[in-house]
Symmetry: C2
Subunit: 206 residues, 2 copies
């Protein structure tokens, strides 16, 4: 970002930045990641290539920022926490159903697939993703599970990182690897199975 800018210049910068991020998301949806170019994004956003290179070192980092904007847009005034109605099963079903709905949205599909496959091949981008997106989201999920532990709904000795992986991993995988239909019912089954476990338990216990 340029230093010591006037309010007007700052506003113009922000407008250009938003145009670039929007163009990147639109274009990756149209042409796919492999054919996405900085030139193409610059043309679509109505800016020069150098404007883009001043702010982002690569198309991967630009797409990551674009995706981060998409993921947080309009949510600035929402509390950054998972719902807590006191019923961890109902709350997790709501969150996993929302994740399913988001992954099934066409405007998310291409950019998120592009981002996830870049992560697979690019350890630096993976580290950036982990630090800026996965870890903050993971903390929110673990906070909700910690509240459930305090309420006696999740066992004290559960490894919360494994719990998060078991709840959200199957959803992400089924979407990425296309191993089956990604439905709200599937989200419910994952939550029920994760909470109850595979082993039999006495019917009267819950």
């Amino acid at each position: 970002m340029p230093q010591k800018v006037t309010p007007d210049a700052s506003r113009r910068s922000e407008t250009a930045r938003r145009a670039i991020l929007a163009a990147a998301l639109d274009l990756v949806g149209e042409v796919g990641y492999a054919k996405l170019t900085i030139e193409g994004i610059a043309a679509a956003a109505g800016v020069g290539k150098q404007t883009i290179y001043r702010w982002w070192p690569s198309k991967g980092s630009l797409l990551f920022d674009a995706f981060l904007t998409l993921a947080t847009d309009g949510q600035e005034d929402q509390a950054a926490a998972l719902p807590d109605t006191g019923d961890v099963m109902a709350d997790l079903k709501m969150v996993l159903r929302a994740t399913v709905a988001e992954l099934n949205e066409p405007r998310y599909d291409q950019p998120m697939r592009a981002l996830h496959t870049e992560i697979v091949h690019d350890p630096a981008l993976a580290a950036d993703y982990a630090k800026r997106l996965d870890e903050p989201m993971r903390e929110l999920k673990k906070d909700r599970l910690r509240a459930a532990q305090r309420a006696g709904q999740v066992a004290e000795d559960v490894d919360l990182d494994v719990a998060v992986d078991m709840l959200f991993g199957p959803i992400l995988n089924r979407w990425l690897q296309r191993t089956g239909p990604l439905t709200p019912e599937y989200a419910d089954r994952v939550v029920e199975t994760a909470l109850r476990g595979l082993q039999p338990r006495k019917a009267e216990q819950f």
Copy 2:
């Protein structure tokens, strides 16, 4: 495959086929999937491009066959079933630890990453993968869980597809998305957490 071949021609074909598959795996490890070409594979295998195009329509399908060969090589004489010692927790830990060891092997890393990212962007390859690799493997896993149900170690009403996703999904994800270290201990935690579930249970029950 050519029809009505003599035994010698058939042996030569098989030799060429194996050389091509080996070259594809070596090359994708060296240059990555994006820079992998049929020309490059043909040169490395010492065959003509047309020989490759006669057997495979695309580099994706060739790499898939190469990976299938890698995954099943030397296992023809092993029983196509998961271990069953009568202790489902111990058996699943053994299988998940073996999966972790395989994913951490350098010769698997690049070709498997290439295959998995192609699947994300190519629904036809995803369908082929599901039919020829995921579904047969999934049936073996479900067979083991069905045996555990008969032995009273897994609840009757568990959705076995969800159970398989919850056991193997976190391993695949952690490897693909690089969200944390992929260790034997992590494999153990996943099996324990999946079997016991997140909810507390009476200490005397198990």
